[in-house]
Amino acid sequence: MTSYEQSRVLMKGNEAFAEGAIRAGCDAYFGYPITPQTELLEYMARRMPELGRVFVQAESEVAAIYMVMGAAASGARAMTSSSSPGISLKQEGISYLAGNELPAVIVNVMRGGPGLGNVAPAQGDYFQATRGGGHGVYRTIVLAPASVQEALDLTALAFDLADRYRTPVMVLADGSVGQTMEPVVLKEYQRPQDLPPKDWAIGSCAGRMKRTLHSIGLEPEVLAEWNQRLQEKYARIREREVRWDGYGLEDAQLAVIAFGTSARVSLTAVRLAREAGLPIGLLRPVTLFPFPDREVADLAARVNGILVVEMNEGQMLEDVRRVAGSNCRVRFFGRLGGVVPAPEDVVSALWAFWEEVR
């Protein structure tokens, strides 16, 4: 047996988020049960105390995000997780994390909405996640895993990005990624050597000036300066942290753009269509904020059409249209209410689109 095989295990997506966090040195987890992410909380409930780390089942999603805020303020690597309605409750706290410039990781295993909706996989929280989600002028980095392996890897990456930019990072998955079991390779986590020291964290003021963490700026000019500093941070993030994946794009005349489970389904559809002779490729944004603007713009300049596939009414579609402009035709294929599209349906949509743009 090679060491590679030894480190391959079968794991559920929700467990992979947890394991990825633990491997990345997550010091503290605070959560509240909600389907379809509860296995994440349960995994943490079992493992964190074994490792001598902090686990608290909070009285609400609201309390959980503020426990994260306290933990992050003390310099710990802190995390919470939930699913769509619970994430809505956390949005005030995420805004406070952004305002206080506190690093933290939030996992959203999306389900159908609005309201109580259902517990089936959906992608209806794209706008909420990529536009900030709470009140005020801020963004969070958003990572979109499309497999159990990525659930593990991107959660670990989320902690590094959070610490590097002093910002909350959201891992935006859907119920299908959370509930699917797949083999994953467990890699040794290496903490980047160049992460900035947490010389802002509160704790013991012995031998130094006291430190205060807050987000208040009553003078408009003071708050404006603060806002501007955040904008500069987001500009750096846009410049440096775009991540995406491509398949068959080199010779493509038609492209699909999709994230998460929609991208997984679309990859199968693209393979089937290519086998049948359609010159098509797939672009999968891994970071939803920052969105791969340049890559999508380049793609739009050289293909005849782009089909955006999402499990919502067309939210990422707006980002694709914003970037593609009038360079190529953009169409949308979506499924609502927690329905996962079948690859065959996407293939049919692709052929119809091809007839229109060829």
Binding site: V56, E59, M67, S74, N100, I202, C205, L213, I216
Partner: protein, 253 residues
Amino acid sequence: MATEQLVLSRPRSQSETITHYCPGCSHGVVHRLVAEAVDGLGLRERAVLVAPVGCAVFAYNYFDFDGCEAAHGRAPAVATGIKRCRPDLFVFTYQGDGDLAAIGTAEIVHAAARGERISVVFVNNAVYGMTGGQMAPTTLAGQRTTSSPTGRDIARAGSPIRVCEMLATLDGPAYIARVSVHNPGAIRKAGAAIRRAFACQVADLGFSLVEVLGTCPTNWGLGPSEALRWLEENMTPHYPLGEFKVIEGVAGL
């Protein structure tokens, strides 16, 4: 030749920043009692304050140790996060009645129920101060505020909540007391209770809370001296002073 002897000075834990509080407001007195307790127990270098939203929103500016803000009502959750990650620190929240007894009810109840090793200084002045004098969960029956202009109607708005009595039914708290700052004797007792609550955390005995009845002359529409009399005559009958929970081990502190 006359000699000068220093008999009273600013506590080390109190910063020299001039506060934004109104004349006659009780927050200044309570801040001093907190600073004296922190100093008295030698906690300054490991003290962390979680400030509320409300009149005490800038409380971290008035103490000379680390602090952070919390959203309205969430101070006990923020304090939980800090204390769980850094059990070596002394972590306390400072909250008003709107913050703790209305929007933050879930957080205070569950922090108390978990026996979270934090301390809470809860200032009850029966009104929302920062927003200009609206009805609080602790506003007295018949008390006029800007949102109960004809007086609190308990048939519609319910009776004022007695936080100490409510929390004392839980198993998590080690120490719960209600004090007042309406005269020098009361202030001395208030200081002793705050010190005892803080000592509970140091001794790892459990959750501790001191409710301090205070004045809000501005929003009550009274002068500072009248406000102190109003507190004693109107608030203490509904909010009896005393200790509501003292578990074994606290008595010796």
